[in-house]
């Protein structure tokens, strides 16, 4: 057996057991303070709309609200229900002594609440009401989805993004050097740059990054969202239509500005 810590050189001899340390990015799901049923209902809506966002990813259950409500929770059942939805719960954070004991009984690891956590919303619900004045906020944002901040990097796309294609980058920016067709969808945790016409949907900052922006050479988009706040093409001022623009959040409102 050998144990390798990051800064240590491994001995040359082969070993039957090798232990390494690595840190992983996990998604944090906050359990509802009142009611598990409400939590699973929201979760099922989320899974239907954006299955890839959660499936197969390691998940930490946040027990802050449950502890505050001082209610008991059958974690074995919750874990079973998550697994039947093909989610992978690995541990809990922020519980009281009773909850932590229950978590250990359910075979879950114990994590410290991370300081770099940001509230995430994986984009607006595509049909859940059209935002006009207030630019509707995605229901998922309220459900307390959270994800650890991702490293800054970019996904470069050089062919036209066709109707029906969905490009997802949950670890940084998306840069498209051509046009994005009507009915196509770009989803990024960071910024979105389109060096052609943007005719489809662009969802930037989907993990809750309110600093994310959308840039395009010609605004013809069906929908633009930043951190869950969105506008549809009807909401855009004709003065910015088909112009090079940037879209950003200012005090919870989606601003579109020409960049000519």
């Amino acid at each position: 057996m050998r144990v390798i810590d990051r800064n240590e050189h491994a001995p040359a001899a082969p070993a039957a057991l090798e232990i390494r340390r690595r840190s992983v990015g996990a998604l944090v799901l906050r359990l509802d303070g009142e009611d598990d049923q409400a939590f699973f209902r929201s979760l099922d809506v989320q899974l239907r709309e954006m299955p890839d966002f959660l499936l197969g990813k390691p998940i930490i259950l946040d027990l802050t609200d449950v502890a505050a409500a001082n209610r008991g929770v059958d974690l074995i059942r919750v874990v079973r229900q998550l697994r039947t939805r093909k989610l992978v719960p690995i541990g809990v954070q922020s519980g009281n002594a009773t909850l932590i004991a229950a978590a250990q009984g359910a075979g879950l690891a114990l994590f410290d609440a991370a300081p770099d956590e940001v509230t995430a919303s994986p984009g607006p619900a595509p049909v859940a009401g059209r935002g006009t004045e207030d630019a509707g906020r995605s229901p998922a944002a309220k459900d307390g989805m959270a994800a650890a901040g991702a490293a800054r990097d970019a996904l470069l796309w050089t062919t036209p993004v066709r109707s029906g294609q969905q490009i997802v980058c949950d670890w940084g920016d998306i840069i498209v050097t051509t046009s994005v067709g009507s009915g196509a969808e770009l989803i990024a945790s960071g910024h979105i740059h389109v060096y052609g016409a943007l005719r489809g949907r662009a969802l930037a900052g989907v993990n809750g990054n309110t600093k994310a922006r959308v840039f395009c050479q010609s605004l013809e988009a069906e929908l633009i969202a930043i951190a869950g706040l969105y506008r549809v093409s009807d909401d855009f001022d004709r003065a910015v239509w088909r112009r090079p623009v940037q879209v950003f959040l200012r005090q919870d409102s989606l601003c579109v500005e020409k960049v000519e």
Binding site: T159, P160, V161, R162, S163, G164, Q165, T178, S179, G181, S182, G183, A184, A197, R199
Partner: protein, 271 residues
Amino acid sequence: MAKIIVITSGKGGVGKTTTTAALGAGLAARGHRTVIIDFDVGLRNLDMILGCERRVVFDFINVINGEAKLHQALIKDKRLDTLHILPTSQTRDKDALTTEGVESVLDQLRGDFDFILCDSPAGIERGAHMAMYFADEAVVVANPEVSSVRDCDRILGLLDSKTRKVEREQERLKQYLLLTRFDPGRVNKGEMLRIEDILEILAIDLLGVIPESESVLKASNLGMPVTLDNKSNAGKAYLDAVSRLLGEQLEHRFLAPERRGLLQRLMGRTA
């Protein structure tokens, strides 16, 4: 080895089968051994457009299921001995198209022909997927109309991801746009999309622009591919498209409204 070309569109009724018949007959008339396969299982039309519906005994699905030999199902055109048709079944559905079955039929045809044209059904489901999966090149047919152009964009996305060439070689297949039912007069009135706008949206090469023409409907009803009637503008435009498919560089024709004499104007749009 034959080159496999899929003729597809996503949207129905834009002229896929008419185009397949016209391009197939055009290639065959230039001396290339050509076979046209109907992938629209259950809605068999290609045989009628080519005027051989009364000679169908066995079909594509019989061959896939091993109920008939390929040479029993292939129909040789009476006008062009370089043109063959593999009709499909009217009684079965798209599930009868298995990947292995389609691949085996195409492999058998590859050695004996120069071009294999696959006439895709509308939609993006199994039939359309099977028609495009083994293709080397694609001709996407559209009308100058917004929904047709968007469906076209969708199909182009599938051609970039759901074909064997892309899966195996990580290489995009060559894609052409063919615009049908183009009416320059209506474009000038703003009732139809302009060619430049369509090309800007789709960003692919233009294979041809077929003017709206009565000769197309007439040819279909007579079972005579429009390229065999090279007096009509539509027939000429399709023959130009055939030349471009063969690598020739030609100017696009029939893009401006036709000048009409006083008498024709008085007679209205019947000419």
